[in-house]
Symmetry: C2
Subunit: 722 residues, 2 copies
C-alpha cells in the first residue's frame, strides 16, 4: 500500500493533472486528436489537401506528390477575376473523377476551376445570410434558403409567409432527415420539403440579452397536439416550374427518406402515419406529382422507424437496397423492381410487412447494419458498416449482391469510419481504439487489403502527459435477468482497492445513443476523467432502450420511457455496490437531456440509492416533448394516459430526498425550459428542495467556453454534497 | 454560564420552538394578532360590526348596544328581493352620519338599505370580473372597470383597444397614486385616468403552468425608454359627456395627486416633468378642461416627489393644505386661494419654489408629517400622523390652523393608526409597541383624552408560548460619520455572551421603506426570530436612503443607488464585529427586491466581509427597472451613464467569492426576471458561481403557502454554507 502511494506520488510528479480546460471541448487548452482534414477520393486517386498545397498519395507506398499549391490556386482564381485570401486548401474538393476541376467554397461562393485550362467552369454565389446550401457538382446548380424561402441559382422559388418553411429539414430531424433539398442525379430537378407549421403552438423562449427581454418563439408541436404539415415539391431548373407531389392531405403524416430514381423520372419516399407504426414505400412521378404505387409496407404494434432512403444499385437501375429493422435488427434488403410479387402480408419478429417486389435479404443476424458506404461496381459488392464484430464497434464489411458472400474489411477492434473510392476498390479507414486516438489507413477492399494498408496518420493521444484514470468495460445483466448490458468504469489513477470511493453514474439511457464504444478510452468523457482523478469511481451502463442492440432491446421501453431504463441503471448500482472499493452510501448520478430525465427519475424513484444528482436539460413530462420523437416511444397523452402519468416526474416530486441540481438552458428549443420550471413548481408544491441553475443564451446543452463553467458547477455540486 | 444554560433548558421545556409555519404569513399555523374588523365611525357614533351583529359602543363606558343582528339584515335584504347568505357583518359600512342606512357589499353588488324604513335605497351591480370599483356614497354612483375600459352605473364610458387602460392606477403606483377614478365631492362628476401604453415595450413573461408555456407580456417602460402617456378625463353623470383635461402633450410627464375643489367646478392636480425635478400644482376647469393656472411650483436639483393630493379645509373652501418636502422634511402648508401673491422664486434647503397663494407653514421640524387624518371643524384643527416623537414611530397630533398650536394626542411609544370621527372629536387609536401586539383605544381629541381612553382590545401576542429571541435596538453612525442609523439585533433566547455566533443581516435599504419601528418586536420578521432561535445573531440597520428620515437622508443615494447604502451596511457589520459574541468570519446577508440588490451589491463590493448571501427578486441593472421609480433616483442611462455603470451589478459579477443564492419569481412584473438571469449570464461569462432558484407562478416576492418553502430554502442555504 505504501508502494502504491509512492507510485502515485511518482506519477503525479511525472504527469500533469488535467484541468477541465484540458479535458473538455470549449476549454482553452483542449486539443482534439490530430486529423487529416479534407482527405478525399478523386475517383480512385487519394487526395490530401493541406493548408498550403493539395497532394495526391500513392496507394502503394504513401508517397505524396504535390498537385497544386495555394499560390497556384490563388493565381487561378485571380486569373478569373476573384481576388481572395485563401487561408487553407483543406476545404477544396475534387469532385470530378478524371477531370482537373476543383470546388473552392467560401461562405457565400462556389467556384469550380479547371486547373489545367485555367478556366472558371462554374461560379455560383448566394447572399450573406443564406443557409442550407446544396450544390450539385454535375449540373453546377446551387440551391439555398433565405429565412423561410427557397432559392435556386439566385432565383426565389417560393414566397411563403412566416410559419411556412421551405427547403429546410422537417419533422425536427427525426426519421434520418437532416436537410430539405434533394437534387436529382443529374441535377436537373430539385425535390424539396415545404413545411406548414403556422398551426403549431409557439413556445415562448425569451432572450434576456436584449435591451428589454425579447420573445424568440419557436413552433413546437407537443405530444398529442396539432403538428405541422409537410409536402414535397419538385422544381425543374430548365422550365422554372414547381409542382408538389400529389400525396393527399398531409395532416398527421411523415414524409421521409426522399430519394431519386436514377433516371430522374420518379421520386421514392417513405410515408409514415402519425402513430408511426405503418410505413409505406411510395413512388411518385416527378413530372406529374402522381403516386405511382406503394411497393412496400411495414407495420409494427410498437413503431416502425424508417431512417434510410433507398439506394439503387449503380450497375442495375432496376434494383435498390431497402434497410429495415423488421426482423429485429436493421439489415439490407435487395428489391427487384422488375419482379413484381403479390403483396402478401407476412409476419416476422412481431412486424408485419407486404412486399410488391421480389426481395432478397442480404444481411442477417443479431447485429445491425449502420450505413451503406458505397459499391464496388465491378465486383457487384455493397460496402457497409455494421456492429457484427461487437455492439461497441463499427466495422466495415462488404457483401456480394450475387453470391451473398460477406467479407470483413477490418473486423478487429475499434470504431471505424470509412470513405470508399469511386470504384469501390479502396477505402480510407479512420478509426480509434480504446488505446488509440485516431489512425487513418488506406487499403483495398479485397478483404485482405488491411494487411498491406498504408498508414497516413497515427495521432498521439491528446491527453498524453496527463494523469488519467484506469478504465475498464464489461457486462452485467439487465433488470430482465437475461440481457447483457455494457458498462464502463473509471478508477482513479492511484486506485487503491482497499479504500472506499464515492461513485458517480453518468447516464444517457435514451434511444439513438450509446455511451460506450471501443473508441478511445471506451468513450469516457473528459468530465469522467476529471472526476476519477478527483477520487470518484465513474460508472456508465448502456441500459435497454439505447442504441445498436436491435429493436427488442430498444423498444422494451415503449409507452413508459424511463421506467425500464431506470431499473437497468439500478442493476448498475447493484454491481457498483458489489465492488469492495465503492462506498455504497455515496452514489451520485448525472446526465443531460434524456440523461437528465433519467437522473431525475432515478433520484425520485430510488431516493435511498442515489444521494446526489445533477440533471441537465431534462425531459420532465413527455407531454412537453415534441410529437415526432415523443409519440414514437410514448404514443400520445390521449392514447397512453397511464404511461404519461407514470413517466411525468412532476408526479414524483414529493419523493425527493437527496440533493438534486436541475440545470436548464434558457434557449433550449429541444427540451423547452417548461420541463424544469414546471418540475421546480411541483417540488415547491410538494415542499421538496431541488436546486436549480439556468444557462441563458444556450440552446440544448452548454457548449463552447461555458462548458467549462457548467462542469465546474456540476463538480462543485458533487464535491459539496456527495 | 451554567445558570444561563439551565435557564435556557428550562425555557425550552416550558416554551414551544416555533416553526416557519408558526412564524410566517402563509404558514398553516400562523396567526395574526387579534383585531376588530370593521370598527368605524357613524358620524361621531362608534360602530363595531361583528360576524352576527352590529353594535354601537358607548364612548363613556365602552358598553355595546346591538344595533342590528345578521338575521335582521338578511331579512331586510330579503324584503327587498335579495336572497343571500350573509357570512358576516364585518364589512357592513354605515357611511351616512345620522341616517339609518348601511352599505352591504358583495363581490359584485352594492346594496344601501335603510333599516328603519326597511327600503332598499340604492342597488348597484357590476358584472363578474369587474374591478377597480369606486362607489360614491352620497350620489350612489358606481364606477368600475372591465379589462381596460371604464364603466359608470352599467354604462360603458370608453371603448379603448388593448394598450390603452382607463380608470385604473397609472404611473406604476408611484407619486402616491393607487387608483384611477376620483368622484367629485357630491358624486356628479368622475375624474379618471387614461393611460396609453401602446408604445411601451412589452416584457415577455411566460406562464409555464399552461399546456404549452404561454406568453403573458407586461408593458414595462424601462429607464430611459419610451414611456406611457397619461391624460385625465372627466365624466359628467348627468349629461353622459366625457371631456379630457386640456393639458397639452402628455409625453414624458406625470399627472399626479388628483383632487376636486369642494364646489366640483375645478380639478387640482400636480404635474411633474419626466426628470421629476419640477412639480406644478395646476387647476383645471372641470367643465371646459382648460388650465386655469399653475399656482405652486417646486424644483429640486435631485427630485421632487409629490405624493399627497391637496386637501381643502372643510370649514373654508378657499384654503387647502399642500404637503411638501421642500424644507427637507414633509410638512403641512396652508394655501389661501383668496390671497394671491407674486410668485417669487425662493430657495430653501436646496429646493426652489414659487407660490401664487399666500402660504403658511403649519408644521416644521426635523421630522415629517405622514398623513392627514381629518379635521375638527369646530376647533379649526387638523389631525395628522407624524414621526415627531421618533423616526421609528407614528404618533397622532393636531395643529390649530388659526393659532398654529400643535398638541400630541398620543405622543408615547408605539406605531399608531387612527380613525377620526366625523366631527374630529374622537379617534380610534389602533397601535402596537415593542411588547404589545395590538391595542385599540377610543378617546377624544382634546389632547388629554388618552388618559380616559376606553380600551376596546388588548390583543395577546400571537407568538405567546413560543421560544423567542432577545431583541434590542440602538443607533450607529452612518458611513458619513455623522448620521444616526437605527439598528435592530435579535439574539438567541438562550444567548450566551461567551459564545461566538454567526450573524445574518437582513436588509432592504431602499427608499419608501423602513425595517425598524417601535411596533411589536421592533418589526423583527418571523424569519429573524426563526434564525435567532437556530443560533444566529439577526441584524438589520436602516441605511441612508430609507424612509422617514427626511429628504437629505433619502436622497444621499441619488444617481448611484446602492453604493452609499452599501457603505452604511458595512458600518452595521463593523458594529456587529465589535460585539464579542459575533463570529466575524461568518457574516451572511439576505434581502428581497431593493434588498436583493443590496445583498448582491454587498456580496460583490465587499467579498471579504460577507460569506453567504441570499438575494431575492433583486434589481441588478437599474436600466432594467421602470421609468417612474428608477429615473427619480437614477436619472436615465443616457444622462447618468457613470451611475448606471457603477450600479450595474453585472459589471461586478467577477468579484463573487462567497456563496450567493439568487432567487427570482418567474411572474415578477415589478423587477422582471431579466435582472437575475442576466446576472447569472454575467457570472458564467466571468466564471463565478452563484446559485439560483426560481419560483414559477409568483409575482414579486413569494406569498401564501409557498412562503414557507421559500424560507426553508433560504434557511438551508445559510445552514449549509455559513
Amino acid at each position: 500500500m505504501a508502494a502504491a502511494l509512492t507510485m502515485g506520488n511518482l506519477m503525479a510528479q511525472e504527469l500533469k493533472m488535467p484541468t477541465l480546460d484540458d479535458l473538455l471541448p470549449g476549454g482553452e487548452t483542449y486539443r482534439y486528436a490530430e486529423n487529416i482534414y479534407g482527405l478525399q477520393w478523386w475517383g480512385d486517386v487519394l487526395v490530401k489537401p493541406d493548408i498550403d498545397r493539395i497532394s495526391t498519395v500513392d496507394l502503394k507506398n504513401g508517397k505524396e506528390t504535390v498537385l497544386l499549391t495555394v499560390e497556384q490556386v490563388s493565381d487561378l482564381l485571380k486569373q478569373n477575376g476573384v481576388e481572395m485570401n485563401l487561408p487553407s486548401l483543406q476545404s477544396v474538393q475534387l469532385l470530378w473523377p478524371g477531370e482537373t476541376k476543383m470546388l473552392i467554397r467560401t461562405r457565400t461562393d462556389y467556384f469550380v476551376v479547371d486547373w489545367k485550362s485555367g478556366k472558371m467552369v462554374t461560379k455560383q454565389s448566394m447572399p450573406r445570410g443564406a443557409a442550407s446550401a446544396d450544390f450539385h457538382s454535375e449540373s453546377g446548380n446551387l440551391a439555398y434558403t433565405i429565412k423561410n424561402n427557397l432559392y435556386v441559382n439566385g432565383k426565389q422559388l417560393t414566397n411563403e409567409p412566416d410559419g411556412i418553411v421551405v427547403g429546410q429539414s422537417v419533422h425536427r430531424n427525426e426519421f434520418g432527415i437532416n436537410k430539405g433539398t434533394f437534387w436529382s442525379p443529374k441535377g436537373n430537378l430539385l425535390a424539396f420539403y415545404r413545411m406548414d407549421e403556422s398551426m403549431v403552438t409557439e413556445y415562448p423562449l425569451v432572450d434576456i440579452d436584449a435591451r428589454v427581454g425579447e420573445l424568440t418563439p419557436v413552433r413546437y408541436p407537443m405530444a398529442g397536439m396539432t403538428s405541422h404539415k409537410v409536402t414535397v415539391g419538385v422544381y425543374n431548373v430548365a422550365t422554372g416550374q414547381t409542382l408538389y407531389l400529389d400525396s393527399g392531405d398531409p395532416t398527421d403524416r411523415y414524409f421521409t427518406n426522399i430519394s431519386w430514381a436514377p433516371d430522374e423520372k420518379t421520386i421514392w419516399l417513405v410515408e409514415l402515419n402519425r402513430d408511426q407504426n405503418h410505413a409505406k414505400l411510395c413512388q411518385y412521378d416527378a413530372q406529374t406529382g402522381k403516386l405511382m404505387g406503394v411497393f412496400y409496407e411495414e407495420e409494427n404494434p410498437k413503431y416502425v422507424e424508417p431512417e434510410d432512403p433507398i439506394v439503387f444499385l449503380p450497375w442495375d437501375n432496376t434494383k435498390f437496397i431497402y434497410m429495415s429493422e423488421r426482423d429485429g435488427f436493421k439489415h439490407l434488403y435487395l428489391m427487384d423492381t422488375q419482379t413484381k410479387v403479390y403483396p402478401e402480408k407476412r409476419n416476422v419478429a412481431g412486424s408485419t410487412y407486404k412486399e410488391s417486389f421480389k426481395t432478397t435479404q442480404l444481411t442477417k443476424g443479431n447485429w445491425l447494419v449502420q450505413d451503406i458506404l458505397g459499391f464496388n461496381n465491378a465486383k457487384k459488392e455493397i460496402v457497409f458498416a455494421s456492429t457484427e464484430a461487437s455492439p461497441l464497434q463499427t466495422n466495415i464489411y462488404k457483401v456480394n449482391v450475387k453470391t451473398g458472400a460477406k467479407t470483413t474489411l477490418n473486423g478487429y477492434e475499434g470504431v471505424h469510419r470509412a470513405q470508399l473510392s469511386a470504384s469501390g476498390t479502396y477505402l480510407i479507414d479512420s478509426y480509434s481504439t480504446p488505446t488509440e486516438a485516431r489512425k487513418i489507413d488506406v487499403y483495398d477492399t479485397t478483404g485482405k487489403g488491411k494487411d498491406k494498408a498504408i498508414n497516413l496518420l497515427t495521432a498521439e493521444d491528446p491527453l498524453k502527459g496527463f494523469v488519467l484514470p484506469q478504465i475498464e468495460t464489461g457486462t452485467i445483466k439487465a433488470a430482465d435477468g437475461k440481457t447483457d448490458l455494457y458498462y464502463r468504469i473509471c478508477k482513479p489513477a492511484d486506485f487503491d482497492p482497499n479504500k472506499k470511493y464515492p461513485a458517480i453514474v453518468y447516464v444517457y439511457g435514451g434511444p439513438h445513443a450509446q455511451m460506450i464504444h471501443n473508441g478511445l478510452r471506451y468513450d469516457a468523457r473528459g468530465w469522467d476523467l476529471y472526476m476519477a482523478n478527483k477520487g470518484y469511481i465513474m460508472f456508465t451502463v448502456d441500459n435497454r432502450g439505447s442504441e445498436n442492440r436491435g429493436f427488442e432491446f430498444e423498444s422494451s421501453t415503449f409507452r413508459h420511457l424511463g421506467v425500464e431504463e431506470s431499473k437497468d441503471q439500478v442493476k448498475g448500482v447493484e454491481f457498483l455496490k458489489s465492488l469492495p472499493y465503492v462506498d455504497a452510501t455515496r452514489i451520485g448520478v448525472h446526465g443531460w437531456s434524456f440523461g437528465g430525465h433519467m437522473t431525475t427519475s432515478l433520484m425520485l424513484r430510488y431516493p435511498d440509492i442515489y444521494k446526489v444528482g445533477v440533471a441537465g436539460g431534462p425531459v420532465i413530462d413527455w407531454a412537453f416533448y415534441e410529437v415526432m420523437y415523443g409519440e414514437r416511444y410514448m404514443d400520445t397523452p390521449q392514447t397512453n394516459p397511464e404511461g404519461y402519468k407514470e413517466t411525468n416526474l412532476r408526479n414524483l416530486a414529493g419523493n425527493l430526498k437527496g440533493h438534486l441540481l436541475m440545470i436548464h438552458d434558457y434557449q433550449d428549443e429541444t427540451c423547452v425550459p417548461q420541463h424544469t420550471l414546471s418540475f421546480i413548481k411541483a417540488c415547491v408544491d410538494a415542499r421538496t428542495y431541488p436546486d436549480l441553475f439556468i444557462y441563458p443564451g444556450h440552446p440544448h446543452n452548454v457548449s463552447g467556453r461555458d462548458r467549462i463553467h457548467l462542469h465546474e458547477k456540476i463538480t462543485r455540486y458533487f464535491e459539496d454534497n456527495l
